[in-house]
Amino acid sequence: MADVAVTEAGAAVAAAPVERSQRWLRWGSYALTVLMVVIFLFPWLWVFSLGFKTRAQILSPNIVWIWKPTLVNFQRVLIEKGYWLLIVNSLIIAVATVTLCMLIGVPAAYAFSRFPIPGKEGWFYMILTFRMAPAVILALPLYVIFARLRLLGTYVAPILAHCTFTLPFVIWLMRSFFEDIPKEIDAAAMTDGYTRWGAFWHAVLPLVKSGIVAVALFSIIFSWNEFLYGLILTSDQTRPVASQIPSLVRPHGTLWGEVCALSTVASLPVALLIFALQRQLVRGLSFGAVKG
């Protein structure tokens, strides 16, 4: 496949004849790699480990390197305090948001790519602007509107609020993926007897499958991570986990073990997703610039 070819090309460039200065560069970059792995892995492992320590072990002035891991924090925070519900809420909100936005965003993106739509550039500029605007901008009016509609504290409010950044994201990225597919494919399908929708569904959509996965993945992650809307639009029953964590951090007397345990559980799904789907991630992050 093409991106394998590209990466081979990159490796070929790197394997150029080794002069003295280049060998030095290679050792340097090797060391840097190790350094980067340590820097980016260590904090997590540390916080992860704190979740398994008792309060005394965390606060002790000497770093406890070897200890007997305990599940006390997890038990207290998830079960006794019932915070497992927060994780479920995050899941509900993320899945609902992304499903909704994909269902209506992907056809819209296709339309933007294939059909002449008046003011297309203007629409995209607006889509991008709202994607990049801080949540605070829409949080205020949405709060008032949902309050008047008596939707505060339900799932509807945070789901719709999350759509404000998910829908633009989906349309923006999917359109660029559709643009990569030559219009001849649509035309060929339609001369074969498919309707426009048929061509979309049967001919084009399968070609952008990895793009769809990448976009859906990122959207779920962004929704899962969202803090502000989840904080102000929800009640204690419907709050997602990311919005609850800061309130557990107090100026004095924070229960660090429990906070770390909760953060670990909240981060685990995303971490697993990242490892399971690396390739789609890189494509999605670079906006499909790596052609393949």
Partner: protein
């Protein structure tokens, strides 16, 4: 060829959602900005006061402080993230097999909840048991909690933000580096260019569109930053880390002054849309460069 009515079906659902959750709230906020509106009674709309809120804005020194804090955070952050990101990208792209393992690990900070990242930062800087905090405290560099210190709180935020987003910049640049054409490099080698010359004369100009896009995104993101600051310092001590989004939050959801808050939001929005215009043009140039 296709009738206009037909196209509508493709975009209508997205258009309606966009209208309801983005445009309507936005216009609502606009109308609020011209009213004196204190959200103590959810049905009141306040009275029309014309430009009063905007006038108040001009004389509010915290408003200017918010912009000052944001710029003080943005400039070092951009320099660090751009420089380090480039360095990391060069390391990653020089050995593609390494990149496959590196990228998921490095992306952890970018893709995890900013709230958890802020938490990790708080913990690392904790003078009692945090890795960095203990070091700073015991060597006497910083005699109290870093985050409670007006001078060091913002650098701490910059550090944590850089930790989270440098991998993002690095991945975009690495994707660019991996997709660069071979010919210029072969030509440079034939001409006997040193690695440094090759870097500045060949790599940088080709990489420039990617660089611009990544930097512009981070610039706009600087005006959005909220979660990290909130969980680490709540904007304090005092207003030392109160970036614009945090400042807007304080006036809308702490003081419940929705009229003033709306005016704030509108000003912020104008700012952001100007920057997005640059981003938009840069993205178009980037698409064209990628297609070449």
């Amino acid at each position: 060829m296709r009738s206009k009515r037909y196209i509508v079906w493709w975009v209508a659902p997205a258009g309606i959602l966009f209208l309801c959750i983005i445009l309507v709230p936005f216009i609502t906020a606009l109308t609020f900005s011209f009213r004196a509106f204190s959200f103590t009674d959810s049905t009141a709309t306040g009275q029309f006061v014309g430009m009063d809120n905007y006038r108040k804005l001009v004389f509010d020194k915290d408003f200017y402080n918010a912009f000052r804090v944001t710029f003080l955070y943005m400039v070092p952050a951009l320099i660090l993230q751009g420089g380090l990101g480039l360095l990391m990208a060069l390391v990653m792209s020089s050995a593609v097999r390494r990149a496959r393992i590196l990228i998921p690990i490095m992306l952890l900070p970018t893709l995890l909840t900013p709230v958890v990242i802020g938490l990790v930062g708080t913990l690392v800087l904790n003078p009692d048991f945090g890795v960095l905090g203990m070091f700073l405290y015991r060597t006497g560099i910083i005699k109290e909690t870093v985050l409670g210190n007006a001078k060091w709180a913002l650098p701490a935020v910059i550090l944590v933000d850089t930790y989270q987003w440098t991998p993002f910049v690095a991945v975009i640049l690495a994707a660019g580096l991996l997709g660069l054409p071979k010919e210029p490099y072969e030509a440079a080698e034939v001409d006997g260019a040193s690695p440094l010359q090759t870097f500045f004369r060949v790599t940088m100009p080709l990489l420039w569109p990617y660089f611009v896009v990544a930097m512009l995104i981070r610039t706009i993101d600087a005006f959005r930053i909220f979660d990290i600051i909130w969980v680490m310092t709540h904007g304090g001590p005092g207003t030392a880390t109160e970036a614009v989004a945090v400042y807007a939050y304080r006036h809308t959801f702490r003081y419940w002054d929705f009229g003033y808050g709306s005016a704030l939001i509108m000003v912020l929005f104008v700012f952001i849309s100007i920057m997005v215009e640059y981003l938009y043009k840069a993205l178009q140039r980037w698409q064209r460069a990628g297609a070449a």
